[in-house]
Amino acid sequence: MTVIVARGLERRFGSKRVLAGIDLDVPEGAFVVVTGPNGSGKTTLLSLCAGLLAPTKGTLDVRAERRELGYLAHEPLVYRELTALENLELYGRLYRVPERRERIGMLLERFSLWDTRHERVSTFSRGMAQRLAFCRVLLHEPRLLLLDEPYSALDAEASELVDAELRALAAERTVVVSTHDPERLAALATARLALA
């Protein structure tokens, strides 16, 4: 069963055409690596798959409910004035995560944010915020993961953490990840998409 089907997908911002004629098939359990220079439309493609943007032309069919979809954007999408725990508490409620407290505790532990769980995100470093974003994305155990340059602003240690996480995810989830460093994910990739 394919999770994402795109035919002749195009997206235009005003008069500038960012994506044109994209055909894509992402089967269940695939690990698709999207590459391309800045401005080639990687983020636009992921936003389209996440349902945040509507295609200007062509068709895009994403067979995953919002409940089954996790989207890691450039921004962590967490409230800076709230603490890590409060942010995950909010998303946990909105995504109706069962045993919310245990799940949040486990994720904070795994991404070594447990000690700073009561601190505001505004005090977090870029790397810590990115790790919190990962917690947000994985909180509701989504079937489909859309990760927009997950390694950006991460130090070596955090990058290894992400590597381990992606290896675990690749096994049982469908993943579409955009990156500037395709070699790092070469082992896991089942398909590649190079945007001009």
Binding site: A50, G51, L52, L53, A54, E65, R66, R67, L69, Y71, A73, E75, P76, L77, V78, Y79, R80, E81, L82, E86, L90, Y91, R93, L94, Y95, R96, R120, R136
Partner: protein
């Protein structure tokens, strides 16, 4: 039931954010009182009470505008609207939660404004308070939707007043009427009608304003 749970979670977040940053509420409280003081000096000495009632309403509407301009600032600056829109909850819950927090801010501002008004101008009548409560609902429901629209555009501080004021004219007419007329029933009824129609319209169209 989960719809109300979503609204509760989102409203809690909005109030918590305000408690943490403490920038919208204090500004609204100070703004409404200073506006009344400015009006005192701008009025000819023998200002009739009708003018005074009108000025209270202008102060309330512009204080609401101040609060509404701040309504989606977090969602916009950190692109958090994407995070909320991605959640499986009904998007109108975002509108209802934000609207409720705006009503709370307005009520708190009015708790300060009405005694000041009674002090500066003339006593506050029961019918005026009823008018204010009904108007707050209308202002919050339409204002929240317009604030979301303005948040998605470039010149949002400029745009929101332009979008909001024409729609606020009926609220001002109903409000001032309720405050001043000898039989306020007609005006309170009109405010109720406005609230009902525009709350439903805003509730139904919010989804189209925040998604593509």
């Amino acid at each position: 039931m989960t719809y109300l749970a979503d609204v509760a979670a989102l409203a809690k977040k909005d109030l918590l954010l305000e408690l943490r940053s403490r920038d919208t509420l204090p500004a609204m409280l100070l703004f409404v009182v200073s506006t009344l003081v400015v009006f005192h000096f701008s009025l000819p000495s023998g200002s009739s009470d009708i003018a005074a009632a009108g000025l209270l309403w202008v102060a309330i509407v512009f204080t609401a505008l101040l609060g509404l301009t701040r309504a989606f600032v977090a969602e916009r600056e950190q692109r958090l609207m994407d995070g909320l829109v991605l959640a499986p909850c009904d998007r109108s819950a975002i509108w209802l939660a934000k609207g409720l927090s705006i009503v709370v801010f307005l009520l708190l501002a009015e708790v300060v404004a009405l005694p000041a008004y009674a002090l500066f101008f003339e006593p506050v009548s029961g019918q005026m308070v009823a008018g204010i409560l009904l108007a707050d609902l209308g202002i919050a429901s339409v204002g929240t939707l317009l604030a979301a629209m303005a948040a998605a555009s470039r010149a949002r501080e400029l745009l929101l007043p332009l979008l909001f004021l024409p729609l606020a004219i009926p609220v001002i007419v109903g409000g001032v009427g309720a405050s001043v007329a000898d039989d306020p029933a007609r005006y309170l009824g009109f405010l109720g009608l406005y609230d009902l129609i525009f709350a439903i319209l805003s509730w139904a169209s919010f989804e189209y304003v925040v998604t593509e």
